[in-house]
Symmetry: C2
Subunit: 473 residues, 2 copies
């Protein structure tokens, strides 16, 4: 039987795990990007039951190599261009490791003051690095918090909006069928529809704002019409979600115009900039911040494109009152002097779960390792590569570009049509040399080239274009 791992065993196995990761980073390019296993293949190689007696850590390390690796789709591969990136940089991994080692649970300020105070600080740091409006900083009525994902951020924004628009009535009385309405463009991430369902509004409460066929940006005129019609019909608009860098093609909504319309009807304006928001670390890309001085809440994911491993969504509110009002419950066993003094933040009141990991450590490690200059260089490199890649696509008459690409996502297709485009995508992915995914643009199948992995260099983008071009018929 195994007893607890001693500090000396931890040191020995820990060095092995670190070495394995360092080696993985050095050889990740040698793997097929997209796993080739069939359903059930991984599980079939592992015992059906847990062991009776404990074993050394060697077995985990061996099976990691033998069984797990073939079943991995390598998100850290330099030629991973699918979905959006999920950066896991060295300093982030180590910051997260230190958080695991400390093993604190920061639900209250009192349960580890440093976990709360560092989180408040790094969210202020990040707000400053991104040049966000000062009202998101913690010294005023607003403030930032780390959520798990942009989905969680959209959900808590909706809950805060319901709290505010109802004067807190929803906390006790709940919502009513057919009363509240939510607005977002057809390009916005599915998390907004999911949030409507979770919050009890149902997907029927969601109004889809039409978009421009080229930019895919939400049309403010259509939002105005939707709002007017709903108000006339007796609905209460509660939330408008604007996207900055929407999932399909990276569309940028006209945030200021949408915010003005939302506020005219006392609705909340939340911006989902999950992928694109962090681009504001570059001066020249601060157009992603246009209109933010008017919004109620804002979310972007350092765990996508800002070098911080999953999970780490940065969420800010201009006024934390409604958020805390929506999410705070104080049972006896959590009461404590610091909370009652009112002089501290208890982040459990800013999120759905009660428990929380010390995630600020990894973000702190990233911001210090890279500094403002290093972060900007990381983003700038990918934007430059996407610009080059887009140029190659545009120069080839077989292909067409389907949307603007001011950041690092290029959406394109074969002029030969959906079937040819699908065949090309499958052929590229089957080589294992790159992995790209698809979307629909104006009903047409499109390939998405999302550049943003930590290890991606020009040669990977170039080789991927050569591959696409050679397989493109």
């Amino acid at each position: 039987m195994n007893t607890h791992m001693t500090p000396e065993e931890f040191r020995r196995y820990g060095h092995q795990a670190i070495d394995w990761i360092a080696d993985y980073q050095a050889r990740v390019e040698s793997f097929p990007v997209l796993s080739k296993v069939s359903p059930g293949e991984v599980r079939a190689q592992l015992p059906a039951e847990a062991p009776q007696l404990g074993e050394g850590f060697e077995g985990v390390m061996a099976d990691l190599e033998r069984v797990i690796l073939p079943g991995i789709t390598h998100w850290q591969h330099p030629s991973f261009f699918a979905f959006f990136p999920a950066n896991a940089s060295g300093p982030a991994i180590l910051g997260d490791l230190l958080a695991s080692g400390l093993g604190v649970q920061g639900m209250l300020w009192a349960t580890s003051p440093a976990a709360t105070e560092l989180e408040t600080l790094v969210l202020d740091w990040l707000a400053q690095l991104l040049d966000l409006p000062t009202r998101f900083r913690s010294e005023g009525p607003g403030g930032g918090v780390i959520q798990s994902t942009a989905s969680d951020a959209a959900l808590v924004a909706l809950l805060a909006a319901l709290h505010r628009v109802s004067g807190a009535a929803t906390e006790t009385a709940g919502v009513s069928t057919g009363r509240y309405t939510v607005y977002t463009s057809s390009q916005t991430h599915s998390s907004v529809e999911k949030a409507c369902r979770i919050a009890g509004l149902g997907s029927g409460a969601l109004r889809k704002i039409s978009t421009d066929p080229w930019t895919q940006s939400a049309d403010p005129q259509h939002l105005a019409e939707l709002l007017a019609a709903d108000v006339d019909a007796g609905y209460t608009p509660v939330l408008v979600v604007a996207s900055v860098g929407a999932t399909g093609t990276g569309a940028l909504d006209p945030v200021a115009e949408l915010a003005d319309l939302a506020h005219r009807h006392n609705a909340w304006l939340h911006v989902d900039a999950a992928w694109a928001g962090v681009a504001a670390v570059c001066d020249e890309l601060r157009f992603v911040n246009d209109g933010l001085e008017k919004v109620d809440s804002y979310a972007t994911n350092p765990h996508k494109w800002l070098l911080t491993n999953f999970d780490c969504n940065a969420f800010w509110v201009a006024d934390r009152t409604a958020l805390i009002g929506a999410l705070s419950i104080l049972p006896e066993y959590l009461r404590n002097t610091a909370t009652e003094s009112g002089s501290v933040i208890d982040y459990r009141d800013w999120q759905v779960p009660l428990g929380r990991r010390f995630r600020a450590l990894k973000l702190w490690a990233v911001l210090r390792w890279y500094g403002a200059v290093g972060l900007a260089a990381h983003i700038r490199q990918h934007v430059g590569l996407a610009s080059e890649f887009g140029g190659w696509v545009q120069a080839d008459p077989r292909f067409e570009i389907l949307a603007p690409y001011p950041l690092a996502l290029v959406t394109f297709r074969l002029r030969a049509g959906d079937q040819a485009t699908r065949a090309l995508l499958d052929a590229v992915n089957d080589t294992g040399q790159a992995y790209l995914t698809h979307t629909l643009v104006n009903g047409q199948l499109a390939i998405r080239m999302a550049i943003g992995s930590v290890l991606t260099e020009r040669r990977h983008v170039e080789a991927t274009w050569t591959l696409i071009s050679s397989l493109g018929g």
Copy 2:
């Protein structure tokens, strides 16, 4: 300016981080358990702005020691007896580290088949180790999934229940004020009230089942009355949440009786066994499973008392149809062959967020390192220590025990009253030698002694009793 950390830099700093954690484990006992910093003290020691230029990892390591550690309340301290434990064992920390290093995002089977298949496997392993009903295993209509916390589990259970009771109507139409009702005891964790608020039912939908003044268990007779009255009044009961090891005193609800009542009214029965459920790794503690063959969903937290660092909640459903029905949305950019074949699990449809970390790795590492025998020894040790501790309290006429303690939580007070009990608790915590928290039992202030840290030995429990006894007036 810093560029990316190279594999060799990662190896070097990684070894330092591992060594720091190993040393922390060896010296954690030397720190005051409860941090003594004042509000703002941690932040004041750090720069107000992020650095312009990147720096080496040495700065993070130095500030971790100088600034962060004094602000830490040491959840891994052997004399941490507050709230519930948050075990961070060596194998868990390393499993989690490997997950960070791989950096995969397992939202779909296709985005890393091994992440999904290992999760399904280890949840089956854990169901077998806990001797849960076979209908929770993945080979039938049920199955397990890792949620972030028990709060998330309670929320998705409520969403699945709403989906089932409404015949999926809530997905589009939402909920209606004053239609659905939820039932749980006054001892149940606040997450159930929070779930009611999040899901749009409002806290007004929640009925509190009265409890036995000694066992603090929910009274089935009272639940029957509540259900009958609500049905008569036109409400639709949707969910009953039974607690196994409730937060205040560790109360065990009569699960089978509550389930029978719930099902008589077509309501869902969810069991929240966040802390206590994992005790079923010991044959002699399998009373915590009583009645589970009748329930619809079940949640317990390996991140509390089963050696797996935060976050890791194990959540099972007897039938996954309603859960997936409540949470599935398939936008175009996530469509893929494996999903459409129907032969794989996409865990994004089992949870609120879309993205997900490869958390199965750490649970796998824990189950393999300890084996069934090692896990049982871990739990058994704490239960034995709590039994001893309870005996000491009972033998001292100044104190009284306020609830049964069949597991590892002892709830007690000074007979001298609330004020004396509060003073004693503060005095104990002020020494820095132990940390305990409080609750209310039948309106009286009580001290909770929750034994369960990885490093806790008999001497720590004994020393804490000596401390309590000497400060107890």
